[in-house]
Amino acid sequence: MRDVAVVGFAQRQMEEFDGSPTCVELLVPLFAECYEQTGFTRKDIGFWCSGSSDYLAGRSFSFVSAVDAIGVIPPVNESHVEMDAAWALYEAWVKIQTGEVDTALVYGFGKSSAGVLRRTLALQLDPYTLTPLWPDTVSLAGLQARAGIDAGAWDERAMAEVVNRSLTDAEKNEYAVRRGGSSVEELLARPMYADPLRKHDCAPVTDGASALVLAAGDRARDAVDRPAWITGIAHNVDPLHLGVRDLTRSPSAAAAAVAAGTAGVEVAELHAPFSHQELVLARELGLESDVRVNPSGGALAGNPMFTGGLNRIGEAARRVWSGDHGRVLGHATSGPALQQNLVCTMSAEQGAN
C-alpha cells in the first residue's frame, strides 16, 4: 500500500447560499485556499473527484457545470460520485493506490436550500414501497430515535447532552450555522418538534462546499509539515428497509471501524445529522470514553449535503497538522438512518497502517 495523506482542506457552510446550485462560484475560492495551503497549482493535481446530487440541484449533470471551477480545458482526469464527497475521497484514495496518480483534489457541494431538503431525500429510498409515502429524513430519524429510547439504548437526556456539547464546541467554529450551548435542562425544556425529536436534535439545513487535497509519500511531505497519513479507510452498507435492521445499531459502521482500525484514536469527527445517531456511532465504532468527539461541533452545527461527511475528515486532519493530536478519525454517513458508513483513520506517523 502507498502512504497517502490529507494535506489540504477548505470549507464554507451557510444557511442560505445566494448563488447557483452548481456552486461554481463557491468552489473557486476553496480551490485557491487548497493551492495556497499545499503550494500545489492546479497542474499538480493528478485526479479530481467530486460528490454532489442532481436531485439537490434540481438540474441534470450539475457536476459537469461545477468542473468549470477546476479549469478543465484541456481535459483533466476527473470523476464524480452521487454521494457525500467522503466517498469521492475513497475513490481518489483508490486511484492513488493504483499508482496512476500521486495527488488528488476531492470536493463536494450542495445547495440544500434550493428545495425542501427533508422531502428531496425521500428519493434515496426504495422507490416501490417507501418513496411513494414520501417519508422525510426527519421522520425516519424520529423512528430511529424512538426505537432507541424504547429499547433503553439512550434517552432524551443523553441526546440533549450531545446537542449541548456540540453547540458549545461550535462557538469556536467560524463556519457553524448553528452554535451556542446552554444547558441540558434548558434544552430538555424546549418543545418537541417531530416527537421524539426537538429541532436542536436535527442538523440545520445547510448550503456549502468543501475541498480536500490528498497526496502520496514525498508529495505529501512537500505540501505540509505534518501530513495526516491515512492509516485505514473502509465503508460498508446496511439494508435499505428500516424494518429489517435493528435501528439502535449500525453493523455497517462497526464493520467499517474494524476494517479501518480505531485503536488509539484521540479525536473522532462523527457525521451524525441527528443527536441520537452520535450515540449509535460512538458505540459501534468502539470509541474509548476519553476520545474527544466532534470538537468542530459536528453536523448539528452545520450539515452541508454531500460534503458534511468530507468535512468530518477534513476537520479531523486539521488536528493532526496543527500538532494537537497524533491519531484521529473522520466518519461519514449516507442514506436513511445511518444506512451507509465510512470510517477514515489518520495519524501523524507515516506507515502506521
Binding site: 448563488g19 424520529g142 439494508p239 429489517v244
Partner: protein, 321 residues
C-alpha cells in the same frame, strides 16, 4: 438586493417501473386487500418481502399472508407534512409489525395528536377506496378498536388473478432556482437591452452568457464586457423534428452565433431567412422584442436575422467551432 436572480421551478416525472415476481406478488396482494410477506432463511416473515434472501441471496419464493392488524414498534410525529405525504395535516409515521410478521412495515398512522399514539398500541390497515397495486393501496394505519374491519377489504378494483407487473411512481420536486451572480448580471443587462459577458483575468477570453469560472484557468471571471448584438454564425442545425413544447413550426434554424467581441458562441434562433440559406460565416443581428415586453430573460431577443453583410472570413471563427 440579492446578488442573484431566482425563480421557482418544478421538476416532475412519472416513473413507470416494472416489478419482478416478488414485489409483484406483494403489490397484487395489496390490490386484492391482503398483505403478503415472505419467509426468509432465518425463519423470519418479512413485509414487504425482500426480493432476495439476506443470508442465502436466493430469490424469495416462500410467500406468507399476514394479518392487516398489528402492533406499533416505533413512531414519530410529523408536525409539518411535506407535499405528497399520506396526509396534508399532522400525522404519525409508524413502524408496524403485522400479526404473523416478524419485522415491521413503515406507513402512516392516522391519529390527531402525539398523545394518541404509543409504542405497543394496536393498529389495523385502512384500505384505500380504490386499489391499483401500490403501497398506497394501504391508505394508512388507524387505531384498532377491536371491531371487525369493514367488509370489502378483499374486494378488488381490478380483476383478481391478474398479477401486478408494474407501478407508476410520480415524482415532483419544487425548487427556488438561482442563477449565478454572473448569470444574474447577464439577465439584468438583457432587461436594459444590453448583452453582457465576462472576461477571464488570466487568458482574457470573453464568455457569454458569462460563466462563474473560466474553464481554462479555473479562476473567477471578473471583468464585465458589453458585447455587440450582432455576430457570425459558426455552426447551425435545421430542426425538422416536432417535439412536445415546440413553439416554432419546423423547419427552423438553431445556431451558434459568435457575437462580435466574444470568444464563445451563443445559442439562438435564426429566422427571417429560408432555413436552407443559413450557412457558416453568415453575418446576423439580434431582433429585439418591443421594449415594453422586456424582462430579465433571453427571450427579449426574439431571434437573429441576416444583416446582409458579406460572409465573415473563415479565419475569424475557425477557432470557435
Amino acid at each position: 438586493m440579492s446578488r442573484t436572480l431566482s425563480a421557482p421551478v418544478t421538476v416532475a416525472f412519472d416513473y413507470t417501473r416494472s416489478v419482478g415476481p416478488v414485489l409483484g406478488r406483494f403489490l397484487t396482494g395489496l390490490r386484492d386487500g391482503q398483505v403478503v410477506g415472505a419467509r426468509t432463511s432465518d425463519g423470519r416473515v418479512v413485509v414487504p418481502p425482500p426480493e432476495f434472501d439476506p443470508v442465502t441471496h436466493r430469490a424469495t419464493d416462500d410467500f406468507v399472508e399476514v394479518a392487516d392488524t398489528g402492533t406499533v414498534t416505533s413512531w414519530t410525529w410529523v408536525p409539518e407534512p411535506v407535499a405528497a405525504q399520506p396526509f396534508d395535516r399532522p400525522f404519525a409515521f409508524a413502524l408496524v409489525t403485522l400479526d404473523g410478521a416478524d419485522v415491521p412495515l413503515l406507513h402512516a398512522l392516522d391519529v390527531s395528536s402525539p398523545a394518541d399514539v404509543s409504542t405497543g398500541m394496536r393498529v389495523r390497515v385502512r384500505w384505500a377506496a380504490e386499489r391499483v397495486g401500490a403501497i398506497t393501496d394501504i391508505a394508512c394505519f388507524e387505531p384498532d378498536d377491536g371491531f371487525e374491519t369493514l367488509a370489502g377489504a378483499r374486494s378488488s378494483t381490478t380483476e383478481a388473478g391478474e398479477m401486478v407487473t408494474g407501478v407508476i411512481t410520480p415524482v415532483s420536486l419544487d425548487y427556488q432556482y438561482a442563477a449565478s451572480p454572473e448569470e444574474s448580471a447577464f439577465y439584468r443587462g438583457l432587461a436594459e437591452g444590453r448583452i453582457l459577458g465576462q472576461r477571464c483575468p488570466v487568458c482574457h477570453q470573453v464568455y457569454v452568457p458569462p460563466r462563474s469560472a473560466c474553464p481554462v484557468d479555473g479562476v473567477a471571471t471578473t471583468d464585465e464586457v458589453e458585447l455587440a448584438d450582432r455576430g457570425t454564425v459558426t455552426t447551425f442545425c435545421i430542426v425538422n423534428v416536432p417535439f412536445l413544447g415546440q413553439r416554432i413550426t419546423p423547419p427552423y434554424v438553431s445556431a451558434y452565433v459568435l457575437l462580435d467581441g466574444a470568444d464563445i458562441a451563443f445559442l439562438h434562433l435564426i429566422l427571417d431567412v429560408p432555413a436552407e440559406e443559413v450557412r457558416m460565416g453568415m453575418r446576423v443581428e439580434a431582433v429585439w422584442k418591443p421594449r415594453e415586453e422586456w424582462g430579465t430573460t433571453i427571450e427579449n431577443i426574439s431571434h437573429f436575422r441576416p444583416t446582409g453583410e458579406p460572409d465573415a472570413d473563415y479565419d475569424t471563427y475557425r477557432n470557435h467551432l
